[in-house]
Amino acid sequence: MKNVLLVGAPNSGKSALFNRLTGLQHKVANYPGITIDVGSGALRSDTRAQVWDFPGTYSLNAISGEEEVAIDALRSALADERPAVVAMVLDATRLEKGLTYCLQVAREAARSKKPFLVLLNMMDILEHNELALDLDGLRASLGVPVLPVSARTGNGVEAAEAALLNASAAQSPWADTPDALIEGSAQQIADRFVPQGELLVRRQAKIDSWLLGTASGGVAFVVIMTLFFQAIFTWSAPLMDGVEAFILGLGAWLVPLVPEGIFADFFEDAVFGGLGAFLVFVPQIFVLTLIIGALEDSGYLARAALICHRPLSYFGLSGKSFVPLLSGVACAIPAIYAARTMSSRQERLMTYVAIPLMPCSARLPVYALLITVLIPDTTAFGGLLGWQGLVMSGIYFFGIVSALLVASVASRLGESESRKQAFILELPAYRTPNILPIIHASVNRAGHFIQKAGSIIFTVTVVVWFLGYFPNGGEDLSASWLAVLGTWIQPVFEPLGLDWRYGVAILASFLAREVFVGTLGTIFGIENADDDPAPLAERITESGLTAASGAALVVFFTIALQCVSTVALLARESKSTGFAMRLLLSYLVLAWIAAFAVHGLVSLF
């Protein structure tokens, strides 16, 4: 078996090439530092060869823990006895940025007697702009094979595959070159072979002068972010309606087929009441991932990070926190992973503190349900805006503001790192987003969500249904085991004006927030078993949830860290279980206090 190691500077197209070579779908995006783990897959044309996709690094001198991990992984792969070929991926349009690293790795490869070659990627862009590059000259100067490829079009990939399979260690001119000479040589090669004309830089600068201009940049940022949030709600609305109609139709068709009795009850209350209530929100997650992916691949998110650097640094964060925080609007899990690109541990911890407060999509079902119950479906400002939509935006805004405020307080309390971390961010070229892989990734994310959340929600609804249905066969919910459990936790939620049914649902939602909706669906389903199947919101309204308690619930959900996966991942990524536990506890206490305050305040009116 042979290993192919794909290494190179960030954003040079390693993952795109990896996907070409293996047929897999690793995440590709136009933002430096997307790949965070070494991943592998079999070469498509010869499955005996294993291809490895490395995180991008600018040099063998790591400046953060994560880079060190990637570099150590490369070193141990080189030290390994088994045959391996090192493929250095260089971005032909930005040749200079990868050359130092290229020569450093060429030297290491030569020392461990591993063949080394260069895959000169993004050749399609050079061709498209009629920019020439002296390939033979470059080969001669580097003293290693250089293969022109384009991961976008697939040109040259076949030849590259053959070269990778047949590569053998040759005499390398770099085996004994000292560090100082490596830098100088990289410089000389760059000076000689980098495509001249600054055509690419100038085009990019023209767009940047708009998107980063003092006034126009701010306006563009606000417009893009407004469209972003609008799209999450308006674009996904028809999809959500479709899913809802489908589930209702399926229920109406299937439920009568099941013979009456315990199975029919279970089917209707737990499966359609619980699981169906949450599946409606899957389209939103899809749309959200799609838009973030498109923004990322266009190159804009790197600009947004730059724009936000100063404002975020007031809150103890950095411009590099922007992408993690924005991803947090979808889900805390990818957000926590995205924070790996931040080199300063202090800033990363502060980003971790802020992420759980970002209004993630798991909260959306909860907010949507409560808004339907509490806010009349009427319009404001002469029919221009709906009150329900306005309140939803308000809740989102509240979440984001509290995330920033908490980060700011935490960074002032925490151990202060003497020197502020440097901000160095490569600005990628603008590109038309490559839409197919983005759609693919969004479908994956939605599927993953259904799988992961679906199995948790299913288990919880089954347990809740079981506890609520017995010991009296669903006759009297208030005499069920569930009600007994509810009375134990009653004292905690009574001050918020919430009865035991909400207490149980909140308790269950610490597994994952969206479980709240499914659990309530099951509980109210059992309780109203004799009624026509009515939407959950209607049943809650009938049960008489007060405005004060509803508001308290919303506030509780914006702050509390109710998500087992987030806590587990925080513990792992911060390498501190104590940190994750402290966050969990503090947010719980804070959420309860804020909910209590809001309950008292709203009760006054």
């Binding site: 600018y58 040099s59 001198n61 400046i63 953060s64 349009t93 930005r94 040749l95 200079e96 940025k97 130092t100 690293y101 830098e183 990289a186 410089q187 760059a190 980098v194 495509p195 600054e198 690419l200 830089v201 990019q204 600068a205 940047d208 002068s209 980063l212 201009g213 003092t214 006034a215 940049g217 790197a302 730059l306 724009i307 650097h309 100063r310 411009g319 080199s343 502020k420 440097a422 901000f423 160095i424 961010l425 490569e426 600005l427």
Partner: protein
């Protein structure tokens, strides 16, 4: 003068990167090509103290003030 004081559209050549060998930011600047003799230009200065955009050959980087101040330029020649 430092890279931060380069005006928009101007370019100059790098004289040195200060900060010493222990400085991670300085090391990274050198690794990505901010080296003696290299020509850098300032492409953009967004307002409100935001990081500025610099071009080094065909690659572009945004650096905040503290980082750009590590790069010392020799002279200012109009491009």
């Amino acid at each position: 003068m430092s890279l931060w004081s380069l005006s928009v559209g101007a370019s100059a050549s790098v004289s040195s990167v200060t900060g010493g060998t222990g400085n991670a930011a300085a090391q990274r600047l050198i690794d990505i090509g901010f080296r003696k003799g290299q020509t850098v230009s300032c492409l953009l200065q967004p307002g409100f103290g935001a990081p500025r955009v610099f071009a080094l050959g065909n690659a572009t980087y945004s650096l905040d003030k503290e980082t750009a101040d590590l790069v010392i330029l020799t002279d200012d020649r109009p491009s």
